[in-house]
Symmetry: C2
Subunit: 133 residues, 2 copies
Amino acid sequence: MSAKINHIAIVVEDIERALAVYRDVIGLPLEHIAEEPAEEVRIAFLPTSSGEIELIQPTTADSGVAKFLAKRGEGLHHICMEVEDIDATVAEMASRGLEILGQPRHNERGEKYVFIHPKSAHGVLLELYERPG
Amino acid sequence: MSAKINHIAIVVEDIERALAVYRDVIGLPLEHIAEEPAEEVRIAFLPTSSGEIELIQPTTADSGVAKFLAKRGEGLHHICMEVEDIDATVAEMASRGLEILGQPRHNERGEKYVFIHPKSAHGVLLELYERPG
C-alpha cells in the first residue's frame, strides 16, 4: 500500500459558516463545493500541498454522516489514504481481519473508494481511495 | 498562512498494538518512537509523502490526551498545519476571535507549536507548527 494521505474530512453543520474559519481565517484555498449524493453530503474541497481538507455537510437526516454529527458533534470524521489497487488492498486487509464496510464503490467522479470500520483501525474511520492510473 | 498539513494525530491505548494495524497491515513505515514529556505522551512517527501519521499514547493519567482517551476512546485527536511565522499567525487568529490555548511553546526538537481550541475550529483540535527556517 502506498503511503499517501489523500484527504482529511471534517463534518460540519454548515459549510459556509465553517469556511468563515477554514478559508477566511486559517487561509486554506477553496477549490470548489460539490454534492456527493451517494454519501448524502455536500463537500467543500480545500487543497493543500499535502492532501486536501474536506468540509462535509450532511444533506439528509439519516445518513451515516448525519448520525455521526448528531451523536458526536462537529469535528474530525475520517482520513483517506491513497492506494494503487483498491480491490487487492481490500482483499489483503479482509484476510488479516479488518472489517471492510461494503465493497469498493464509485464517487461522482468515477473514482473507487471504500471505508474500513473504526473498530479495525483503533477508532479511526479510514477511507481507501484508488488513484486513477 | 501556508497551506500544508504537517501531521494527523491518532490517540491510542497502546502504540505497539496500534502498529500491528497501521504499520503491519496498512503498511505505513515507522520512522521512530519518541517521548514528548511536555505533552505527557509517547509518539510513533509514521511518515507519508503527504504529512505524517502520529500515534500518540498517554504516559500519565491526567494529561489532556489521557482525558480525551478516557472520555472519547481511541481515534482521531488533532491535525497540525504548518505556518511560517507562528507568533504572527497566532496574533492574527486571536484578533479574529479564535481561542488560542496558551502561548507558542517548544517541543523536544526545539520547534515551536501551539494549539487552537476545538470550539474555534468547528470541533477540530488544531495545532500550528512553525517549520524551522
